[in-house]
Amino acid sequence: MNAPFETKTRPITIAIFAMGGEGGGVLADWIIDLAEHNGYIAQLTSVPGVAQRTGATNYYLEIFRRPVNGGREPVMALIPMPGDIDVVIASELMEAGRAIQRGLVTPDRTTLIASTNRVFSMTERTAMADGRVDEMVLFEGCRSAAKSFYAFDMASLAEASGSVISAVLFGALAGARALPFERGAFEAAIRRGGVGIQASLVAFTAGFEAALAGTSAPVRAQAPTGPAQAPAENAALAEVMREVERDFPPAARKVIGTGVERAADYQDLGYARLYLRRLAPIAALDSGRDERARLLQETARQLALGMTYEDTIRVAELKIRPSRFARVRAEVRAAEGQIIEIAEFMHPRTQEIADTLPAPLGRFILGNDLVRGVLDRLTRKGKTVKTTSLRGFLLLYTVAALKPLRPNSLRYGAEQKSLEEWLETITATASKNYDLAVEVAAAHNLVKGYGDTHERGRARFETLIKTLPHLIGRQDGAAKLAALRKAANADDSGAALATAVADLEK
């Protein structure tokens, strides 16, 4: 042996899991600077390459107490070794999961510092319905894989402090006491970095204090709810709401109340009463069968959405509301008094125009090749409407003003007819197979959107309804229909649904 053998001294190993463009490199540089200024030798490696283009990116660091009096130089590894990592820092929850998957988080030694916010993957984002993974599973996985776990929503903290997530992570690293340095040394590293010092320090403090306070589970961000929570000031509406209290079981009142408000907002009180009239027989089906009134709740939800289908009038009305202007201002972070202009991207086609017109006129347009051809040509291109300009606003205002004429429109007739048929199917199914009826109610969720999306959704809904004769006698009918609904949302082409239906009929 050419040197004394020493097994007590080891490097501190740190792996950073981030996504391209998130500032993982800045965080790594801070740690290097921190270590080098505090008597440590530091080594950093990364694999940038094309991963920088929004893909998963990771950095690996080793720091080593500098040998005294010209002692021996350490040999530092360039690749993280499973089971040999002291600190893992992940800028997002799924990335923390990735670190576990790669064996870098172990219960005997790893301090895991992770932000609980989600940056959705391409698979989650492109799903046709809800393709989000379960963040609680990831969170619990992190908790049991790590020796100690520091987690909270660092993206929000970064946003609140006007900085980036890397500064919050750096603060959390300090707060977690995973490295042999004091808080002041961390802050000095940020100061030496020289860019955005003040904002970084604020974010650092937020991360530091949150780490001291401990871990908090991910909260699936709740979007603020709209009119549903606003008090019904209108006396007439209040009376309808009392009917809801009187005639419907407690479990379903909330959703029905929302439905009433939605229908009233969409058209008028009469429409809201129509909504309740349609629900009354469904409530009767539920009584005695299910305490939670599942069928009523699901039907109430889907019926409210079905009755308030988005037509040109509805879209125009929603676009010009003052609450909408305020929401846009908040979303684009316009400062108080700052001028913003809003432009809408609309593409009304002959179909939508005919749908809005009184039924006979609408039918005439769709049936007359000449008129249709002219309109098709006129509507081939989308329109950009500036809602904040007088012209654009007045255009939408005029369309919205057609609301009283809606019940005469071509689309209104078609929608009501199809809703009635669906309600009849629910009623007919419920008597034989309650669970299946709940699924029939839920299946209407496929009918949504506009243009191609709407046509595709309706066609798939109808495909599902056609399978009912195969399902109604089966105990697993409801599960089968749920599986078909899932298949209907699996792809754009409809291949998955076609296969699932073929399997069913085999």
């Binding site: 040197a3 991963a51 391409m122 809800d130 619990e140 894989a145 409210a304 988005e310 003052p322 432009a343």
Partner: protein, 718 residues
Amino acid sequence: MAERSFAEEVKKLRVGAGEEFRGEGILAITKALLESGVSYVAGYQGAPISHLMDVLSDANDILEELGVHFESSASEAAAAATLAASVNYPLRGAVTFKAPVGTNVASDALANLSSGGVTGGALIIVGEDYGEGSSIMQERSHAYAMKSQIWLLDPRPNLPSIVNAVEKGFELSEASNTPVMLEVRIRACHVHGRFPAKDNVRPRFTLRDALENPRRQVDRIVLPPASYLHEKEKIEKRWPAAVKFVTDNKLNEFFEGDLTDIGIIMQGGMYNTTLRALEVIGLADAFGASRVPLYVLNVTYPLIDEEVVRFARGKRAVVVVEEGQPEFIEQAINTILRRADIHTMVEGKSMLPMAGEYTGGVVRDGLSKFVRAYRADVLAAMPHPAPSNEAAMRLAAATKAIEPHVQGRPPSFCTGCPERPIFTAMKLVERELGPRHVSCDIGCHLFSILPPFNIGATTMGYGLGGAGASAFNIKTDKPAIAIIGDGGFWHNGLVSSIGNAVFNKSNNVHIIVDNGYTAATGGQDILSSAANNKIRATKNSIEKAVRGVGVDWVRTLTHTYDVATMRDTLREALTTSHQGPKVIVAQSECMLNKQRRVRPLIAKAIKGGERVVRERFGVDPDTCTGDHSCIRLSGCPSLTIAPNPDPLRSDPVTRVINSCVGCGLCGEVAHAAVLCPSFYRASIINNPTGWDRFKARIRDKVIGFLQQRLARRQLLPA
């Protein structure tokens, strides 16, 4: 100007003797070149040596001061051919590119160069892109070194060793009249470390000296009979000279250990990983002291027979830590020992995997296996006990539970990328005319093969997108589409893809994505870049070049975000009766580079009180129904999902986050694909003019009045 600027860091290149250099591997390599008196440097970018090219480019002033010429080559072949300057003159030259793809392109020049041999030191620095994060086929550069007889250095991955390899590489090249290849792995290129600096050296013999005193040696040119002599000379003169130099200068390293009956032979690049693995299993400390004797090959080709024999003699077994396949070194060691009649067992791929990256865990497991087989007695006392059973079970359960919830996160087009709308348009045309064969190239556009676009069937190499579709040259109403980037176009594509299609009377459609940079390698300038570059000639038109090689049907679109025009042009190209290749040049600046360019300008303008309008997009959640068609036609990182604010709905809505750069694609897609009317564009006016304010006042009054009127008719507060 490249994506990452080294303008600050290159100042470190000026440090001299007695000072310590701290920085990244690529910067250290540059410094080592200057300390070695290099006369010229050339190369082509590509990970992991893109940053080396960027460093050299940013260091151009320093290079010029020292009389060093730096060339951004058109391709790796051009770079390798540059080394011809070292054939007749005592000029030290270095070239750099990505391996093995760059080596593939350069192989013609490399083979000619190594046949005739060199007078001045010729160094080929290859960035070995094997393993994690690699975007290329997994192959070794080793085969190239062997086939052309180029010496291969694979130094230990720390800055002093790498710097030493550069310096000794030139000397070795000169001592043996052979080009030398220096292999650095991706993590070594980016490793942050330090080494004691020396003074930079001006080349003793300059390019001017050469031009003013031209020399030629006909026996150095590859033509019979000289080429036959070269082949003999390689074996009879250059090989022994190299062996002598490597031995005399102790380029390979021996480390003793007390377990003398076993040993480890490794590539230099594997040293740190091997040492850590030994440390974890209790056979080394953190400072490199190993109980197992080590033989570190900083030179992996040629092998020094005498050294191998010396190391292996008397041992029961040695294990070779050699990354990648075939296992050239292990095979050669077996041959060497057999010839020397030494019966030491040679393990290697028997203990370690034949293929794939040698990461820490892999090497740890392989070496454990080796020690257990030959010296199980020393494995007893492990300093790092295995985690307790309870912990191991907890970990296994957690890993299993999260498995379905961890999805891949492959790279994709950046926010606002101008290439995205091209593929959106292709998707829309696909809906109308059906799917067809699409041949891809190398570059950012290749992300189209991944979700959400799922477009593209093959990629055959840089500039070969068109060539990859050349067999599909028959009478058909469904011509193939070939895609090529501007980087690939100038690298090789003009001739191999476009010229080839013209000559062979192909009817295929070629889309040339012109974003103004070689964007995938980090945004370096090329011939057609729109930027002013003081050391390069830019602004050369792709359309002119294409027409120059004989294409008649060319459409240049200068705004890729106009999806409708893009779609219509593509449809026309696919359906026209025009004979010959159809070329669409789709032109818009790389957004990553554009943002880097314009952001500071905008910030300055706003600060200076100028009227600046910032645009970004948004989605109205109350009209978004959560189908996400818009995301499937775009995939933009700023287009994501958010909880549905409607208590009646559960599917998440689409949401545009503040990183949106307002490229306009969302609106164009909503129009062209007839999506929902949820998208809006917000124009945020900074420093409005008096006229802006006046208009806004009037507007707010009238609109406010009408809104109130509407609200009175509404049943609910909105």
